[in-house]
């Protein structure tokens, strides 16, 4: 089965062709990603209207490039998938509409994919992970621990009560005058900093529910930084190191709590899977490896380019759904807000 996947929910314009083999294995045939981050850098974050304008200028060219790279034709596709949310509505409208247009022309099924579900299922594309597994979804917009029981069957075990972890990294970078996106910048600075110089809190540590809270940490970091401003290069590196260490400690504790909650409710998971842009952070990955070992399971972390937003994960989620007969109509709605738990309900909704 050959599926085209389109991703436009934030600031990457992406298109990919993925094959689902009969035995359920996935194969990426082409994966094109155009990042807009340079266009948003001056604003210290993604500007929705700028993102939408960029998507509509380049999406068809991105798809065409993916088709050429895959050496295939639209007629050879078995379906067209697009991220229909959650995310920035202006970009979603562009991606979903173009997917519908292609599906209409070539008379192939359309799948309006939940972007979070696509992140959740990526480990099945890369590592053929079987259900059920425990997902730690960590990005600029989301911080969730999810029991992935089947395609369309997700139980959220924990979430952030305020900021997402990626958002906290971005705000830290902005505060310290580092570039955008902030995550990689903070990680780079942290590598040459002294994490113990500042005593930062570990919010939620030891709580029974595997939830997160980042706003107190963010505020504590700001207060420490303000005390010693103006900041030297070493100050910035030390602040980044202290911040990242605190996040890592919180992640380790919260995810371990999440794995235990998973086991109580659903038995042993086949794996701890990490997904989302923050999953490329090496310190967080190392901590998750340790936590997986402590919980008698193993960590599955897709390669970095499949953790950040991409079209391959959308195509793969589309393939998983088409295989199960879960397709959408040409009237499918773009959705700015779309919790993962509502993916089955959406599929059952009338056209």
């Amino acid at each position: 089965m050959l599926v085209l996947g389109i991703e436009t929910t934030c600031d990457e314009t992406a298109a990919a062709i993925v094959r689902r083999h009969e035995d359920g294995r996935g194969e990426i045939v082409a994966n094109i990603i155009l990042s807009q981050s340079a266009e948003h850098a001056a604003y210290g974050g993604v500007v929705p209207e700028i993102a939408a304008r960029a998507h509509v200028e380049v999406l068809d060219l991105t798809i065409a490039e993916a088709m050429v790279k895959a050496g295939t034709s639209f007629e050879a596709l078995d379906g067209v998938a697009a991220a229909a949310g959650p995310g920035l509505i202006g970009g979603i409208i562009v991606g979903l509409t173009m997917a519908k247009a292609i599906a209409l022309v070539v008379e192939k099924p359309l799948v309006a994919v939940n972007h979070l579900e696509a992140h959740a299922l990526t480990a099945r594309l890369t590592d053929a992970v079987a259900f059920p597994y425990c997902l730690f979804l960590v990005s600029g917009g989301h911080t969730q621990i999810v029991a992935v029981l089947d395609v369309g069957r997700y139980v959220r075990l924990g979430t952030t009560l305020d900021d997402a972890i990626g958002e906290a990294f971005d705000k830290t970078a902005k505060l310290l005058g580092l570039g955008y996106p902030g995550g990689p910048e903070v990680e780079r600075e942290a590598a040459r900093g002294e994490a113990t110089r500042f005593a930062l809190p570990r919010p939620m540590l030891g709580r029974d529910e595997p939830d997160f809270s980042l706003s107190g940490l963010k505020t504590a970091l700001r207060l420490e930084a303000e005390k010693i401003a103006p900041l030297s290069d070493q100050d910035v590196a030390d602040l980044c190191a202290a911040f990242q260490r605190a996040v890592v400690d919180v992640v380790a504790d919260r995810v371990l709590t999440g794995l235990r909650a998973f086991r109580r409710r659903f038995g042993a998971p086949t794996a701890l899977v990490v997904a989302g842009g923050v999953a490329v952070n090496q310190a967080i990955r190392r901590a998750l490896e340790t936590v997986a070992g402590m919980a008698d399971t193993s960590l599955v972390a897709p390669p970095a380019e499949l953790c950040t937003d991409n079209g391959a994960m959308i195509a793969w989620a589309g393939a998983e759904r088409i295989f199960r007969g879960m397709t959408d109509t040409l009237a499918a709605s773009p959705r700015a807000r779309w919790p993962l738990e509502e993916t089955l309900a959406a599929e059952k909704a009338p056209a």
Partner: protein
């Protein structure tokens, strides 16, 4: 030439298949302020069905590129470019202002034709056409009072912003004909699309207004 015309830039969701010069095979227009993203593709499927035509039978796709609702015009453009890509047919962009003015120019109007689209905040998107479609004032975003002044010699003011100009018209000055329309006619879009040069009339948005965004560095702490 068989042409598929699409318009979601303003207050309608509309599409039609026209065999040039003027045989309408099928068309449908639904008045709507929002919801184009859901409505357009099922509407397109119905229109294609009704016309009994396939995408392979089309010679080109014409789409309104604005000025209009930023989100709305991107729905039409994304659809047109998607169809063009998958069907291997050219897509051309048509200005909403030109599409509003088109019928008057075709009818041989000799005095200026003014097209205006509501841009809110006491502004309109505005263009003035002379005989034969010659452009007297290029498309731009202007204050309503400036548009009124520039429209004083017009024979007709057409478009979703025509009523706004009429309401601001000075007392004692003769008012041109006012043709308030929520969206341009599909036939007019098709005619302009058929005449357009594929190499130049690209299906790219004509926003006429910059995105509302300012650089943010207020949160940043001073560095040594």
């Amino acid at each position: 030439m068989r042409i598929l015309a699409i318009d979601t830039a303003l207050e309608a969701c509309a599409a039609g298949i026209i065999e040039m010069p003027d045989r309408v095979l099928a068309q449908e227009s639904v008045a709507m302020a929002r919801g184009h993203a859901e409505a357009l593709m099922p509407l397109l499927a119905r229109v294609m069905d009704q016309a009994g035509t396939g995408f392979a039978d089309l010679d080109r796709i014409a789409v309104t590129v604005g000025p209009g609702s930023f989100t709305g015009l991107r729905v039409g453009i994304a659809a047109a470019r998607g169809i063009a890509l998958a069907a291997g047919k050219p897509a051309v962009g048509v200005s909403t202002l030109a599409a509003f003015a088109g019928p008057y120019l075709v009818a041989g109007e000799t005095r200026p034709v003014v097209a205006a689209v509501d841009a809110r905040h006491d502004q309109v998107y505005f263009e003035v056409f002379g005989p034969g479609g010659r452009i007297l004032v290029t498309p731009r975003l202007v204050a309503v009072r400036d548009a009124v002044r520039a429209a004083s010699a017009a024979a007709v003011i057409v478009g979703s912003g025509a009523g706004i100009l009429a309401a601001a018209w000075p007392d004692g000055k003769p008012l041109p004909a006012i043709a308030t329309q929520g969206a341009p006619l599909i036939a007019s879009i098709a005619r302009l699309g058929a005449a357009a040069d594929v190499a130049h009339a690209l299906p790219k948005p004509l926003y006429l207004r910059r995105p509302d965004a300012r650089p943010q560095d207020a949160a940043r702490l001073p560095r040594r």
